[in-house]
C-alpha cells in the first residue's frame, strides 16, 4: 500500500506483538508504534530462544559440533551442516570425493524445497489461504520421508560429516527421489494456480513491503529478498563450491521487490532446485562417499574387527577427536534465506575456539522496519511472512 497520510487527530499508541503470536513464525516480539492502523515505528526484540549454541560448540570436539549447529536454523539444517563441515574441511585442507559433493548438493536442494514449502504454507496461512498449508506440508512430508530413508532421521539428520557424508544412499532411494522429481513441478504448478491470480492474495502482496535494492544491499540483505528486488546475486553462482559449477540452473529475479515478487522468486526457486536435484542424480559419480583420511574420518565399521590400526584410529577419533592446526576460516553458502556464513577459529586443540554463524535471518530482520513503516498493521504481518525469518537462526 502507498504511504498513508499522516492523521494529526490520532495519538501514537505503542503496542506489543508477541513474543508468542502465530503470525511471528517463532518467538519474535515486535514493539510497534501505531497511529490508528498505520505503523509509524517498529522495533524487533529478539533473543527469546537464544540457547548459547555458539558457546556450547567451544566445549565440543569438531565432529560433535555438527548436531549442535543443525539446531540453529531448524528448517534448513542441511545448510548449517554444510557451512560448518565446509569450514572445517577448509581448515584442515581436506578434499571431499565427487560422490559426496553430489550427494550434498542433492540434499541441500531438497532442503531448500522443504524450507520454501514451510515458508509458503505458513505465509499463505497468514494471508488467509488455509488450504495452502495442507498442500505444502503434504509435499514437505515426502521430502522428510526421503531424508528419513537416507539418514534415519526426518529432521536434524547429522548426515554431513567432515570429509563427506556418513552413509551412501540406500537401495530404492533413487527410484523414490525420481518419483518426487517428476511430481514436484506439477505440484508447484498447482500452488501457482491457487495463488497467482487469487484476488485476495494479490491485494495482500502486490506493492506491499517494497524496499529499494540499494537500501537492501546497505542493510546486508541477501537471498530471495534481494533477488526479488532485481539483484541477481546468488552465492551458488558466484562462488565455486560443491557440485554447483557443474549444474545448469537459473537465478529467478523479481522487478519491484514487493511481497508478490518475493513469492514468485521462491516458487521459481523450487522448480530450479528440482532441476538441480535431477541433474545431480543423473550425474551422480560412483566411488567413495567420504574421504579416505583416517586422521579425520572414521574407518568403515567392518574393518574394526580385522584391523588393529583402524581400531586405534576409531578410538582416537571418538574419544579425543582430531586436532586442527591454529587458523581461522570464513565459509559462506547460499541458504534458502541468503548468505549463511560460518566462521571457525581453531587454536590447535581438538575443540574449536570459536564457532560463529552469520545467519541470514538475523541480518535480514534489520530490513523489516524499512518494509513496514508507513503501512497498515495487516501489511506488516504480510511483510513479516514474506521476510521469512527463522527465529532459531536469529537467536542461535
Amino acid at each position: 500500500m502507498a504511504e498513508a497520510a499522516l492523521d494529526t487527530q490520532t495519538e501514537l499508541m505503542t503496542i506489543n506483538i508477541g513474543p508468542h503470536h502465530p503470525a511471528t513464525h517463532g518467538v519474535l516480539r515486535l514493539v510497534v508504534d501505531l497511529e490508528g492502523e498505520v505503523v509509524r515505528d517498529l522495533k524487533p526484540v529478539i533473543g527469546y530462544v537464544h540457547t548459547g549454541i555458539e558457546k556450547s560448540c567451544e566445549d565440543k570436539s569438531y565432529w560433535k559440533v555438527i548436531p549442535f549447529v543443525e539446531r540453529m536454523d531448524y528448517v534448513s539444517y542441511f545448510f548449517q551442516m554444510e557451512a560448518f563441515c565446509g569450514a572445517v574441511e577448509r581448515l584442515v585442507d581436506l578434499e571431499i570425493p565427487p560422490r559426496a559433493r553430489y550427494l550434498r548438493t542433492i540434499f541441500l536442494e531438497l532442503n531448500r524445497i522443504h524450507s520454501h514449502l514451510v515458508w509458503l504454507g505458513t505465509t499463505a496461512l497468514d494471508l488467509g489461504a488455509i488450504s495452502m498449508l495442507w498442500y505444502c506440508f503434504r509435499e514437505r512430508d515426502r521430502i522428510l520421508d526421503l531424508f528419513e530413508m537416507a539418514c534415519g532421521q526426518r529432521m536434524h539428520t547429522r548426515y554431513f560429516q567432515v570429509g563427506g557424508v556418513i552413509e551412501d544412499i540406500p537401495l530404492g532411494f533413487e527410484a523414490k527421489l525420481r518419483e518426487f522429481i517428476a511430481e514436484m513441478p506439477v505440484r508447484v504448478g498447482q500452488y501457482e494456480d491457487l495463488l497467482d491470480r487469487n484476488e485476495v492474495f494479490l491485494s495482500r502482496t502486490k506493492g506491499v513491503g517494497i524496499v529499494p535494492r540499494e537500501r537492501l544491499l546497505e542493510l546486508g540483505v541477501t537471498g530471495p529478498l534481494l533477488r526479488a528486488a532485481g539483484e541477481p546475486w546468488d552465492l551458488r553462482k558466484a562462488f565455486d563450491y560443491l557440485a554447483y559449477p557443474e549444474m545448469d540452473f537459473k537465478i529467478p529475479v523479481g522487478t519491484v521487490g514487493d511481497g508478490y515478487d518475493r513469492y514468485r522468486v521462491r516458487v521459481a526457486e523450487m522448480v530450479e532446485s528440482v532441476r538441480i536435484v535431477e541433474q545431480a542424480l543423473d550425474g551422480l559419480p560412483d566411488g567413495p562417499f567420504i574421504a579416505d583420511d583416517r586422521k579425520y574420518v572414521l574407518p568403515p565399521r567392518s574393518e574394526l574387527s580385522t584391523s588393529m590400526e583402524s581400531l586405534i584410529h576409531h578410538f582416537k577419533l571418538v574419544t579425543e577427536g582430531y586436532r586442527v592446526e591454529a587458523g581461522e576460516v570464513y565459509y559462506s553458502i547460499e541458504s534458502p534465506r541468503g548468505e549463511l556464513g560460518c566462521f571457525v577459529l581453531a587454536d590447535g586443540s581438538a575443540k574449536p575456539a570459536r564457532v560463529h554463524f552469520r545467519d541470514p535471518s538475523f541480518v535480514n530482520l534489520q530490513a523489516f522496519k524499512d518494509m513496514s513503516v508507513g503501512t497498515y498493521v495487516a501489511d506488516m504481518i504480510a511483510s513479516l511472512g514474506m521476510l521469512d525469518p527463522i527465529l532459531g537462526g536469529v537467536d542461535r
Binding site: 548459547g52 556450547s56 546486508g220 542461535r396
Partner: protein, 180 residues
C-alpha cells in the same frame, strides 16, 4: 580473492593514504586478511569501500573472537565482499583488554572500545550489538548499543573464553525449598 601479492598491493595503497593503519597482513588457507590499527578502522573500511578500484561495498559479516591467552586478546572481524569481482577480504582489528594490564593497576569494569561502522555499513547495527552483548566490546557512536540476544539485565560477557560453560546458575527452586 586477492592473492598474496594483491594483498600487499592493497596494503601499500592504504599505507599511502593512511600511514600506519595496516599493522600486518596474513594469507592463511587462501583467505586474505588485513590486521588494522583499531584507531584507524573507519578510515580503512571507508577506503576499501570507496577508493577507486577497490569497491568492497558489502559487509558480509561482522563478528568477534577471543584469542585468549594471546595479547591483544580480542579481535573484531569484518568480512568484506566485492560483489563485482567476487572477492572477499577480512579486516581484523585487535583490541587489548583494558581490565587486564600487567603494569597498570587493574581497572575493573573497563571495556575495550572501537569505533562503530554503522554509518558506513548500516548492516552492522545488529551485528555490533551482538558483539557487544557477547564480548563486551563497546562500539563508539553506535545508535543503540544494548544487549540483543541476552536479557537486558544480564551481567557478564558470555562468549569470552574465560567465561565458563555452565557459568549460568540454574535455580532448582523445588529442591532448594524442600531439600536445601
Amino acid at each position: 580473492m586477492p592473492d598474496a601479492p594483491g594483498l600487499e598491493l592493497i596494503r601499500g595503497e592504504i599505507e599511502g593514504d593512511h600511514p600506519g593503519a595496516v599493522l600486518a597482513t596474513s594469507f592463511d588457507r587462501d583467505q586474505p586478511a588485513l590486521v588494522v590499527d583499531p584507531a584507524q578502522i573507519l578510515a580503512v573500511l571507508g577506503w576499501l569501500r570507496d577508493a577507486p578500484g577497490q569497491g568492497y561495498r558489502f559487509l558480509s559479516s561482522l563478528h568477534a573472537a577471543d584469542y585468549l591467552p594471546a595479547e591483544p586478546r580480542f579481535a573484531v572481524h569484518y568480512e568484506l565482499l566485492n560483489r563485482d569481482r567476487v572477492e572477499r577480504l577480512r579486516v581484523k582489528a585487535l583490541l587489548a583488554d583494558p581490565a587486564a594490564g600487567p603494569d597498570s593497576p587493574p581497572a575493573d569494569g573497563q571495556l575495550p572500545e572501537i569505533d562503530s561502522c554503522v554509518e558506513l555499513f548500516p548492516t552492522a547495527n545488529f551485528q555490533e550489538r551482538e558483539v557487544y552483548d557477547f564480548f563486551g566490546i563497546v562500539f563508539r557512536g553506535h545508535p543503540d548499543l544494548t544487549r540483543i540476544l541476552m536479557p537486558d539485565d544480564y551481567v557478564g560477557w558470555p562468549q569470552r573464553r574465560d567465561f565458563p560453560v555452565g557459568g549460568e546458575p540454574v535455580t532448582f527452586t523445588y529442591n532448594e525449598r524442600n531439600y536445601g
